[in-house]
């Protein structure tokens, strides 16, 4: 298995290289530049600025310089957040997004899997229809509606929780962002779990388990869940990557200092190093989490050989 992990990590290098290359040139193809202003700068000053950031060199030269820098771990300075390097920005924001994201994913798995499993076992019952109806609603309501709604109800009307703000990560400030992040995930995971569990519970080996005389609880937990959760595990890889890198909407509405905003502000400002930095960061997370998913797969299903 160790050899498998090493091989997978090795094969991640070309993937990352392609991601970096495509992202680099796409950024440059996009019209506009980091120092475009409504008011035209005097040409000498603009030339000076471009020179400072090496933007005056030919594009292929810039590309090779950039590749050389990131191999040494230098992601460059931000063009907009002066005095900050890209690494500084990510290191400051990521712990916040990670904390919220992990809490949200954990809650989503616990509630989603439980609700989905019960719905599958009571297929076509009132509970089933209720859970699946709620889940559909959860998927359909966008977070920019859910976030202000929760802030309005629990922050303004009930005054139980702060409307927004971070307050150095106090628990009550985290609750609403975590719930907003978790709700669509709960909905999605419960639907996935239900679908897959309904199928598993109808398979022949479940009939065998019942014929052995096993209690229904053991039939579900020992025989059905392991297989029934495989689709959820596959979904969790990319979903975790997406959730722990924060959501620009949720961070903006609840005023959370995560890294989600850099994805959008970086792109809008043509802040090339920041965009490249978050793209690489995101790609590394996706690759890493997919590897974890595959390892868990091999553990849950002996037919998938991790070698």
């Amino acid at each position: 298995m160790f050899a498998y992990v090493v091989r997978r990590l090795g094969s991640a290098i070309p993937t990352l290289f392609i991601v970096v290359t495509v992202a680099f040139f796409m950024m440059r193809v996009a019209p506009g530049g980091p120092f475009d202003r409504e008011k035209q700068l005097p040409p000498e000053i603009e030339a000076n600025i471009l020179k400072v950031y090496n933007l005056d060199k030919p594009l292929h030269q810039q590309y090779f310089d950039y590749i050389g820098n990131i191999i040494q771990g230098d992601f460059g300075p931000s063009f907009k957040y002066l005095d900050f390097t890209v690494t500084d920005l990510i290191l400051a924001g990521f712990p916040v997004s990670l904390r919220l994201g992990l809490a949200a994913i954990l809650i989503a798995v616990v509630f989603g899997v439980t609700a989905g499993t019960i719905a599958a076992l009571k297929q076509n019952s009132t509970f089933d229809y209720m859970v699946m109806g709620l889940a559909m609603t959860g998927i359909a309501i966008p977070n920019f509606v859910m976030a202000p709604l929760l802030a309005l109800v629990f922050g303004v009307y009930l005054s139980w929780l702060p409307v927004a703000g971070w307050n150095d990560g106090a628990l009550q400030n985290q609750i609403l962002p975590v719930i907003t992040l978790a709700l669509p995930q709960i909905a999605y995971i419960s639907r996935l779990t239900r679908g897959s569990m309904v199928e598993t519970m109808h398979s022949n080996f479940i009939r065998t388990a019942r014929a052995k005389g096993l209690a229904e609880k053991i039939v579900v937990v020992r025989h059905a869940l392991k297989g029934g959760l495989l689709p959820v595990i596959s979904y969790l890889g990319p979903a975790t990557a997406a959730v722990i890198t924060g959501s620009v909407v949720i961070e903006a509405i609840f005023d959370v200092p995560g890294i989600g905003r850099y994805f959008v502000t970086g792109a809008l400002n043509r802040d090339y190093p920041v965009v490249m930095g978050v793209v690489i960061f995101y790609a590394v997370l996706i690759i890493g989490l997919n590897l974890v998913v595959d390892l868990i797969y091999g553990f849950l299903d002996p037919r998938v050989k991790v070698e």
């Binding site: 014929a211 052995k212 005389g213 096993l214």
Partner: protein, 341 residues
């Protein structure tokens, strides 16, 4: 090759080990319309039979005639709609999974699709041992392992295969695992639900012989479900013929094959190929017209009348009861002894 009818059938004069009376299994099928109640699909309709200790009862019939449903209904793996299932004096009908645990160690089942019936995520050692953990939790790990090794040997599996997963085995080996899993509790009755229909012909014989050997050495009672008349003839002492969930005929093997009384049984037996070209050429084949009617709307009266070569007006009006037609021979036909045509 042939099972001797008398060998393990000595008990057949005593009390039956299993009595099934008027068993009905209906499935509600949604009519697809609002406000129209679901229609019952009569998979098994009023089936009664006795099974004696050490006896092998063959159940034959076309696909969809309710053979498998009957087997599962007897074991309460499907809840019967009505009727009695009496196992050694205890009523099983209506018992939930919890109360059934007491009887599961005596009543086991071997399923049709060998690979799909094994949990792909468990080693075969765990699969075979699992019934022990439920029914004999007092056994130590080592004792369990010993019993698993012993049963694996009995069914012809090598003990070193214990840590492999089902997908690493062939179909025949998977069915041996299925047999081991059923046999490890030393049950008294095994329902064999088409145990070989998914297997190669050469493997079929091995599994059939294995089941027969186990039956004879442990005095097992068998309910052997199959659509293959040759296999049923080989393994059974008595045979029950089902059609659309109804018993057409039930008799000792020899009596049924030599003197079938029911027109349906006659047609079935005439369809069995004879492994002798001369005889096969001269054989009188009775070909049934039409298709099996839908069990959602079975024919009135006798369910077989729509395809019966000797059907009479009475058959549409009255359902023929199962009547004695000789020693240990019962038939459900108004005209079994009439000379029509």
């Amino acid at each position: 090759m042939e099972a001797t009818t008398t060998s393990k059938n000595s008990n057949s004069n005593g009390a039956p080990i299993l009595s099934v009376r008027g068993l009905k299994v209906y499935f509600p099928i949604s009519s697809g319309k609002f406000f129209v109640p679901p229609i019952p699909l009569k998979a098994v309709d009023d089936v009664s039979f006795d099974l004696y200790s050490g006896e092998a009862l063959g159940v034959v019939g076309e696909s969809g005639c309710g053979k498998s449903t009957l087997g599962r209904g007897v074991l309460q793996l499907i809840e019967p709609t009505a009727g009695e299932v009496v196992w050694q004096g205890h009523h099983l009908e209506g018992l939930g999974p919890k109360q059934m645990i007491l009887y599961r160690r005596d009543l086991q089942i071997i399923f049709q699709d060998p690979l799909a019936s094994l949990n792909p995520r468990m080693t075969i050692g765990d699969i075979i041992a699992e019934p022990l953990t439920v029914h004999y939790p007092e056994l130590s790990k080592d004792e369990r392992k010993q019993r698993v090794a012993k049963i694996m040997e009995e069914v012809g599996l090598l003990p070193q295969m214990i840590n492999r997963y089902p997908h690493e085995f062939s179909g025949g080996q998977c069915q041996r695992i299925g047999v081991a899993r059923a046999m490890i509790l030393r049950p008294k009755l095994i329902v064999c639900d088409e145990p070989v229909s998914a297997l190669d012909v050469s493997i079929q014989a091995q599994i059939i012989n294995l089941i027969q050997d186990l039956q004879q050495s442990f005095g097992l009672s068998l309910i052997f479900i199959s659509h293959d008349l040759s296999i049923v003839r080989h393994i059974s002492h008595r045979i029950m013929v089902l059609y659309l969930g109804n018993v057409m005929e039930i008799a000792d093997k020899l009596s049924l094959y030599d003197e079938p009384k029911h027109p349906y049984t006659k047609a079935l037996i005439s369809a069995v190929p004879i492994p002798d070209p001369e005889q096969e050429k001269n054989k009188q084949r009775i070909v049934l017209e039409g298709d099996l009617p839908s069990p959602l709307s079975p024919p009135t009266g006798c369910v077989f009348r729509t395809r019966c070569p000797i059907a009479q007006p009475l058959c549409a009006k009255e359902k023929p009861p199962l009547v004695d037609a000789g020693a240990k021979h019962q038939v459900a036909c108004h005209f079994w002894d009439a000379d029509i045509r």
